[in-house]
């Protein structure tokens, strides 16, 4: 019981990062949070399969990835890719510029293929080493490296063609 509670407490402390990772997969905040909720639910039920001493964040990212693939993806609101309220917020100062820049990058990420979004989320956003990220995705490190390189060059193209992102 106490072990479970300690684990639950650690998971709770990781919630901000779980939400952030989920946002790289699901554009809409609500979809991303549904995904986190489902993953937390599964983590609680399967807490015995977590090996103490290993990275808890990586274990949770894998649960999120699987939950995304199994359930959430199917019902997420893909038809409406960009939330209208996200656009046109805060205009006219430096803060707005930084905000627009962040939004442009988020949009570019959302246009990547799913496997590219996963590597970008794990390595660039969550800062996992290649080896850990490859373990989360259950792929060889070489595959992860080439996916990441391709994802980056696609992002570079998308960001250098603002028209494609803003349309």
């Amino acid at each position: 019981m106490d072990n479970d509670n300690a684990l639950h407490h650690e998971i709770a402390a990781l919630l901000p990062r779980l939400r952030r990772f989920a946002r790289t997969l699901a554009w809409h905040r609500e979809d991303a949070d549904d995904l986190v909720q489902l993953a937390v639910e599964r983590a609680i039920v399967h807490s015995a399969s977590y090996q103490p001493g290993t990275r808890l964040d990586a274990w949770l990212f894998r649960i999120i990835k699987n939950a995304w693939i199994d359930e959430v993806r199917a019902r997420s609101r893909r038809s409406e890719l960009f939330a209208p309220e996200e656009e046109g917020e805060h205009v006219g100062d430096n803060f707005a510029e930084a905000h627009q820049q962040r939004l442009a990058v988020q949009k570019a990420v959302s246009l990547l293929s799913e496997e590219h979004r996963l590597v970008v989320g794990l390595v660039l956003v969550e800062g996992l080493p290649y080896k850990e990220a490859a373990e989360v995705l259950e792929i060889p490190v070489g595959t992860l490296t080439s996916r990441l390189a391709r994802a980056r060059s696609t992002l570079q193209e998308l960001l250098s063609e603002p028209a494609r992102i803003e349309s």
């Binding site: 106490d2 709770a12 901000p16 609680i44 962040r102 390189a149 980056r152 960001l159």
Partner: protein
């Protein structure tokens, strides 16, 4: 020596061994184009990280933290059902209507400990000895493990005491609901250095209380009602709770 784009990317990500890093750094000093490509990989990493960084600073919606506060969750449905039941209980209490007979029956089965202690002093309490409570000037105050838990423990963590909701009361002070492994539940509010206990109830079902049961037990309705009557705004989230612990629950 030439380096593939993947190698330069891995260098930018800090993934390479020292010898390869040195070799790339040497090459970068001689080759400006190579240095630019590395810089581009680094900039991409920084930009993508920055694009999502604010998400981690957002307040975590309570629905995500909730399942982690209750140790015996089995399904998403049960989380939703429990949340709805709790919301309904609070709504019911806040409507202030007369309780129906079954509700009165349930309440009557609980001993209103706080009232008794106020009138008769701590010696009359049929529970807990004086370990967790003391009577000061006719007011019940927390001491011992209960006091320590109220002061230091975060919501949802179970031990001898489980803290429920923490909130700012309408009088501006902090209050927290709690349950103990001995089957009592109540509300405590910080006044000066003391946690005063304006309400405490004893759950008459005493068998198998213990710490395991405590983790899953529902806060009794009179406590939920007391929270609802006193609360100003929303309950504290985990971050605000930690901050309050750090400041010793002084505002």
């Amino acid at each position: 020596m030439t380096f593939s784009d993947e190698t330069l990317m891995a260098y930018a990500d800090g993934e390479l061994d020292l010898a390869t890093c040195r070799a790339i750094e040497d090459a970068m000093r001689r080759d400006a184009a190579l240095a630019r490509r590395v810089a581009q990989h680094k900039a991409m990493r920084t930009d993508v990280f920055a694009a999502y960084a604010p998400v981690a600073d957002e307040a975590v919606p309570p629905r995500l933290a909730q399942p982690l506060r209750q140790a015996t969750v089995v399904s998403l449905e049960s989380v939703r059902a429990r949340r709805e039941a709790e919301q309904q209980a609070v709504r019911k209490a806040s409507r202030g209507r007369r309780w129906s007979w079954p509700e009165w029956g349930a309440l009557a089965a609980m001993l209103m400990v706080g009232v008794m202690a106020g009138h008769y002093g701590i010696g009359m309490l049929p529970i807990e000895g004086g370990d967790n409570l003391a009577s000061r000037d006719g007011v019940l105050v927390a001491q011992g493990r209960l006091s320590t838990a109220l002061e230091q423990q975060l919501g949802g963590i179970s031990g001898a005491v489980r803290i429920g909701t923490s909130f700012v009361a309408q009088d501006g002070g902090y209050c927290r609901s709690f349950m103990t492994a001995q089957g009592t539940a109540g509300l405590a509010c910080k006044q000066g250095a003391t946690w005063k206990v304006p309400l405490m109830v004893q759950n008459p079902v005493r068998e198998q209380q213990g710490e395991y049961r405590l983790a899953a037990a529902e806060m009794p309705l009179p406590v939920l009602e007391a929270v609802d009557q006193r609360i100003s705004g929303q309950p504290l989230d985990a971050k605000a709770e930690q901050e309050a612990v750090r400041k010793g629950w002084q505002r």
